[in-house]
Subunit: 344 residues, 2 copies
C-alpha cells in the first residue's frame, strides 16, 4: 500500500498543484492508499444550492436528477456543483481502513459514519443510484468514497435518531468551540438562538456554571420563548443584532456594566459584527461562527471603537466536536425533543 498526501493532493488529476476542493478532476479509483479510509456509501446528502440547480435543470424528473449526479461524478471524480462549487456530505459504512490509520481512526470496519468534509473534495465512485428523495435532497446509492488522512467524520451514535445526529453535525463546531473557551464564572453571550445558538447556550451554561451567567440575544419572539421555556439562558434579550448601540445598552444593564467575557455569534444575517464587538468586554474573546461575517467589518469595526479583543474565525471543526454535540442532546431532553420535532 502506497502512502498518499495527508490532504489528498495525490488524488488530484488536474490542475496539478491544486488541493482536492479546487481540483477539476480527482482520481476516484476505489482502492485505498495506506492513509485513506474506504467507505461503502449509503446516502448522499446534496447541498441545498447544488440540489436546487439540478432540479431546475431536469425539471424535477427523478431519473434525470440521478443521471445528472452520475454525470458530474463521472466527469469530476467527486460531486461538486459546477456553478457554486458546493457539495454536501455522505453517510456510509467503513469498508476498509488503510494500514497507517490502524488504531487511530477511532472507528472499525462496519461502523456507520457521516463525513464532515464536503463532497466537493471527496473522491466518489457511484455504481448505481437506488433512490432520489426531493424532500430531503438525498440520494440513496451503491458506491464507494475515499476519506483522506485529514478528512473529518463521526460515527453515528446508536442511541440517537440518525436524522437528528446528522442535522446537528453541521453546526457541531459552534458548541465545541464554546466548550473549549468558556471558563467557570464567565459571562457568556450567544447571539442568535437557532440550531447552533441553542446548542451553544446549553454548553455555555454547563461550563460557566453556577458562578457564571449566560445571555441569549435573539431577534425572533418565538425563539426567545423557546430559550426561556427550555431554561437555556439566565437572561434572554430580544433584540436585533444589527443595532449595535441598543444591544450594548441592554447588555450593559443586564451585566451591571461588565459586558461579556466570551461571545459566540451564530446569526444567519449580515451586519452583526459591530453589536458583537460592543457586547464584549476589553480583552474578551469573540468567536464569529456565522458565515455572514465580513472580515473587514470585524477588523475595522473593532479598531474604530478602540477595543482590544481576541477575534476568532469560527471553523466547523475542532477535536471531538460531534461527541460534544451528541452529548448535549443526551443531557438535555427538552432540546433533544425540540430538535427531534424539527428533523424527523
Amino acid at each position: 500500500m502506497e502512502k498518499g498526501c495527508k490532504f489528498g493532493s495525490h488524488r488530484v488529476l488536474e490542475p496539478s498543484g491544486a488541493l482536492p476542493q479546487s481540483a477539476l478532476k480527482l482520481d476516484n479509483t476505489p482502492k485505498i492508499y495506506s492513509n485513506e479510509i474506504l467507505i461503502d456509501v449509503g446516502i448522499l446528502n446534496i447541498s441545498a444550492t447544488a440540489f436546487t440547480r439540478i432540479e431546475k435543470l431536469t425539471g424535477g424528473d427523478l431519473k434525470g436528477i440521478a443521471e445528472e449526479v452520475i454525470k458530474i461524478v463521472n466527469e469530476r471524480g467527486k460531486f461538486q456543483c459546477p456553478d457554486t462549487g458546493s457539495g454536501g456530505m455522505l453517510i456510509g459504512n467503513v469498508d476498509k481502513i488503510g494500514l497507517d490509520l490502524n488504531g487511530r481512526a477511532g472507528v472499525k470496519i462496519g461502523d456507520k459514519i457521516a463525513t464532515m468534509v464536503s463532497l466537493s473534495l471527496t473522491p466518489l465512485f457511484i455504481e448505481k443510484v437506488l433512490e432520489v428523495n426531493v424532500d430531503t435532497d438525498q440520494l440513496r446509492v451503491k458506491g464507494k468514497a475515499v476519506l483522506f488522512e485529514s478528512g473529518i467524520y463521526a460515527a453515528i451514535p446508536e442511541d440517537l435518531p440518525e436524522s437528528l445526529s446528522v442535522a446537528v453535525m453541521d453546526v457541531a463546531g459552534a458548541p465545541a468551540w464554546t466548550a473549549k473557551y468558556v471558563k467557570a464564572g464567565d459571562i457568556v453571550v450567544v447571539i442568535g438562538a437557532g440550531k447552533a445558538g441553542l446548542l451553544c447556550l446549553h454548553e455555555a451554561h454547563k461550563r460557566a456554571g453556577i458562578t457564571g451567567k449566560v445571555i441569549a440575544i435573539e431577534s425572533q419572539a418565538a425563539q426567545c420563548e423557546l430559550v426561556e421555556r427550555l431554561q437555556l439562558a439566565d437572561i434572554v434579550i430580544q433584540a436585533d443584532a444589527a443595532q449595535p448601540v441598543s444591544v450594548m445598552q441592554k447588555l450593559l444593564q443586564a451585566t451591571g456594566g461588565r459586558l461579556a467575557d466570551f461571545i459566540v455569534n451564530t446569526v444567519n444575517v449580515p451586519n452583526t459584527e459591530m453589536a458583537s464587538i460592543l457586547a464584549c468586554r476589553d480583552h474578551g474573546t469573540l468567536l464569529f461562527f456565522s458565515m455572514s461575517t465580513n472580515f473587514a467589518k470585524a477588523a475595522l469595526g473593532c479598531e474604530g471603537v478602540g477595543k482590544v479583543l481576541t477575534l476568532l474565525i469560527g471553523t466547523g471543526y475542532t477535536e471531538g466536536h460531534a461527541d460534544i454535540t451528541f452529548q448535549i442532546l443526551r443531557e438535555n431532553s427538552g432540546l433533544r425533543q425540540y430538535f427531534h420535532g424539527l428533523y424527523k
Copy 2:
C-alpha cells in the same frame, strides 16, 4: 462638563442610534465633553481613494480640492468620502483634555499626536485650508477635531522623522500583535515582506529568540533580497502564497516537518488563506492581518483540511502598538534607513 458616550454616539445627529462611523452627520461643535480630547488640527491625511475621487471631481485644481473638502465637512461634521466611506487620519496638537481623562490620556496639552481612528468617525471643524499637497494627499488646515474616549492616537516621537512615524503607524497593529503572541522557541512564519511584514519579522526574531526560527515567505525577489540583506529572517522562501501545496512543501522542508507555531499574513492580495493554513502546525495560531482575507475561505478552508487552529482576525490596534513599532525603528538601523528612504 457633561460626559459623552465612550464611542461618540452622543455626537451623532442622524440617523439616531448609529455609531459615528456609519452616521450621516455628526455634531462637530469644538467644545468638548468631559471624556473627549480637543485637537488643534495641523494636517489632514486624506485616504488615497477619497483624495483620488476629489481630484477627479475638481480636475486637480487646488482651490477646488480645498472647497470640496470643506463642503463635505460642513455637510457631515466629519471628513468621509461620500462614495466609499473612507476617511484618513490627522496630525495636530492636544488643545484640551476632558476632566474625566485627566491623568490617563497619556499625553499633555501641546503634545503633537496622530489620530489612529479614521477621519470618517472624527468630529471635525475646519476654519481654513492653508495648503493642498497633491503628492502626499495632505491638506494643511486651521481647525479643531474631537477624539472620543475610545479614540486611539499616538504621540509622535521627537527622535524619529515625523513622516516615518506616521507611515509606520498605519500598520503598527501587525508587529504589536506579533509581539504579544510569539514566545521563545517558536517557529514563526511571516507571509508578505512589505511594510507590515518587515516590522513583524524584526519583532518575531526578537521574541522567538535564539531557540526560535523566523521564516519569511514573499513573492518578489527584491523584497526577499532586502530581508536577507537586513538579516531579518533565518530562512527566506521566495514563493507565491496563492499556491498552498508548494508553500507547504517548502515549509515542511525548512522546518523538518514541524511547520509554524505562529503565522502572520501581511500580503496585499487575495487567495492566500489556504497556504497560511497549511503552513501552520495543528493547534498553532494564525493571524490574518491582510485586509484581503476572506472569512469564508479561511473558515471552510481550515475545516476542509481537518486542522484545528486558532484563526485570528488581526485588527489595527492593540495596546502600545505605536510604541512597539517606533521601538523597532530605534533598534534596527537598517530597517529605519530603508523606511526613511521610502517615506521621506
